[in-house]
Amino acid sequence: MDTSRQHDSGALPGDFAIWIFIFAELLVFGVFFLAYAFSRANNVELFNESQLELNRLAGAVNTIVLLTSSYFVVRAVASIRANDTRHCGHWLLAAIAVGGVFLIIKMFEFGEKFSAGVSLSTNTFFMFYLSLTFFHFMHVILGMVILAAVLLKTRRGGYSADDHTGVETGASYWHMVDLVWLILFPLVYVIH
């Protein structure tokens, strides 16, 4: 399929099926976010108090990390659109590596909490914090797996300027993962 034509035709980038997933995931996270927000309204003291125990700096750094990773993916797509397979591969590798940084920082955060004895059953705030960030964590992993698959095919010369639907598909999913965190961070870490 001529993806450069598709790019101008008004159609969503990549395979349409991934967009169904993207919308579905956004829906589920959206419902979860609102459940958090309204649950907070019923438990303001508890949420405010428990929220202070969060590592806001780690959350902010992770936001920077994901935004950067997304930026690298944008550069990767731009490269393949210019038929530059080599740089596309480099940008994808960088994106995955930076995604790995997110995972490490997040695991450090989880480690901190678990050793302090915090679990899903500690209180409603921590139930939401752990659930939301854990679900998101799993989606980061899935996104990295998808990007890795795209990277492998790129390395093998499987994409070109005329045919790179797979790259756009993987990129779109990764941006969704970033988008979810963009809402999660202010909602859970900042809004007080």
Partner: protein, 460 residues
């Protein structure tokens, strides 16, 4: 039909409908016992009749799924079934084992059945829907494994279509999850947790894959729409079903002693479980609207569309009504549950099996693409009678449930269970009369198989 081995589906379909009749007869018995408490007591006590009703439902649906698979897999894989003999052998083993089990329920006290079938060696009896003796359960596993082997070998050595793969995945999931019926923890919380791994992950999980695959198969043939389009829809539908349904299992974990976070996880994910059913409805209607040909089997088209709509209403909408934890706290185990259960099972699984039979039977029996006009008309009458009856049964039970929940749990002066049951008896009478109409619809469906047309059969 294209492959002669598809004929093994016939006995499965016959058994399915036969057991369906048995299921409804026993449904009428327990419906009567709701209002005339000692009807047929002590020969057929309520709990025994209920076991027969629910077990027959599951068994006839399994016969239906197997028949559907034996019919559609050779056609999809573009080769004959791997072993028609094995399929027939398993048919008789399953039928006899099932019949003996039902006879066992009716003929002897349950405790005696447990004793004579060696339940103490590996106790698996005594749980709702899983009342079968352990040896029956082992028999089911053997039949399921042989069935999967047969279908699997056919697919592996033939054309692997999306429909085939989704169906096989669903059926394999069905078999694997059934193994949890052998796991009977002493701890009551764990017992209930794993029980739902069979029940929920069946009907709100892998069975949806089976349903989707069958519906997709039938729609491709009835509408002539591009396979690629239909298969893409199928992928999206089953993805949504699994994304929402797996963690959605949590909506059964609210009150059984598991941690409180299940009330959140279960509510959030299960609230979205209607989505795949909604998609199936849009999918079915869109495909029929975009059809490339006028298939002579109008009845099958009606059954197919009916499946999508009733599944959405019964499983999706009625399920949603009581899925959120704050609501379920009050409605748990009430007639609301029964209302949802009946319409959901009818809409999703009863109808998809009948859709398949309606589509396949003319090919199997008459080598024709559709039954004669009169037979189809009777089928359509049957559809409307059964469907409208179920809708009213559901409405009556919903009414009974709302009243029950209010009087027994919500009101400032809650009343005892039996007192409330007395007060809502009117709904049970109405349900019973409607059940008779449902049965009439079913009889009409059976009669349609024998109806002779005025015009000659359409040639294939």
């Amino acid at each position: 039909m294209q492959y002669s081995s598809q004929a093994v589906a016939k006995p499965y379909f016959i058994a399915a409908i036969g057991l369906f009749i048995g299921q409804i007869l026993f449904g009428l018995i327990i419906g009567t016992q709701y209002v005339i408490g000692d009807f047929l007591f002590p020969e057929i006590p309520f709990n025994v009749a209920r076991m027969v009703h629910t077990n027959l439902l599951i068994v006839w649906l399994l016969f239906g799924f197997m028949g559907a698979a034996y019919y559609l897999v050779p056609e999809e894989a573009e080769r004959e079934l791997f072993s028609p003999k094995l399929a027939i052998a398993m048919f008789w083993i399953f039928l006899v084992a099932g019949a003996l089990t039902i006879v066992g329920y009716l003929a002897v006290p349950y405790a005696t059945l447990a004793a004579v079938t060696g339940n103490d060696l590996l106790p698996t009896m005594g749980r709702e829907f899983l009342e079968q003796p352990t040896i029956t359960k082992v028999g089911i596993v053997v039949v399921a494994l042989a069935f999967l082997y047969n279908i699997g070998m056919t697919i592996i050595t033939g054309r692997k279509t999306v429909i085939n793969i989704v169906l096989l995945t669903g059926l394999t999931g069905l078999a694997v999850l059934f193994l949890f019926s052998f796991y009977n923890p002493i701890n009551l919380v764990l017992d209930k947790m794993f029980w739902w791994w069979v029940v929920h992950l069946w009907v709100e999980g892998v069975w949806e894959l089976i349903m989707g695959a069958i519906l997709a198969f039938v729609l491709i043939r009835l509408t002539g729409v591009d396979r690629e389009v239909i298969e893409k829809w199928l992928y999206v539908i089953i993805a949504m079903a699994l994304i929402t349904g797996i963690i959605g299992t949590g909506h059964h974990y609210y009150w059984i002693g598991t941690p409180e976070y299940w009330q959140w996880w279960g509510s959030i994910f299960s609230a979205l479980e209607p989505i795949p059913f909604f998609m199936m409805t849009v999918f079915a209607f869109t495909m029929v609207n975009r059809r490339r040909k006028e298939h002579p089997n109008k009845a099958a088209t009606l059954w197919a569309l009916g499946t999508a709509v009733m599944a959405f209403l019964g499983a999706g909408v009625w399920g949603f009504l009581h899925t959120l934890a704050p609501v379920n706290f009050y409605t748990h185990g009430s007639q609301i549950t029964a209302a949802h259960g009946h319409m959901a099972f009818y809409g999703a699984y009863v109808l998809v099996v009948i859709t398949m039979i309606s589509y396949a039977w003319p090919h199997l029996q008459h080598n024709a693409p559709a039954a004669n006009g009169r037979a189809q008309l009777l089928e359509m009458w049957s559809f409307w009678l059964m469907t409208i009856s179920i809708v009213f049964i559901t409405l009556f039970l919903t009414g009974a449930g709302i009243l029950q929940v209010y009087l027994q749990r919500v009101s400032d002066t809650p009343l005892p269970f039996m007192v409330v049951q007395d007060k809502i008896a009117l709904f049970y009478w109405l349900r019973l009369y409607t059940g008779l109409i449902f049965f009439a619809g079913l009889c009409l469906y059976v009669y349609s198989f024998f109806a002779k047309g005025k015009e000659s059969l359409a040639s294939s």
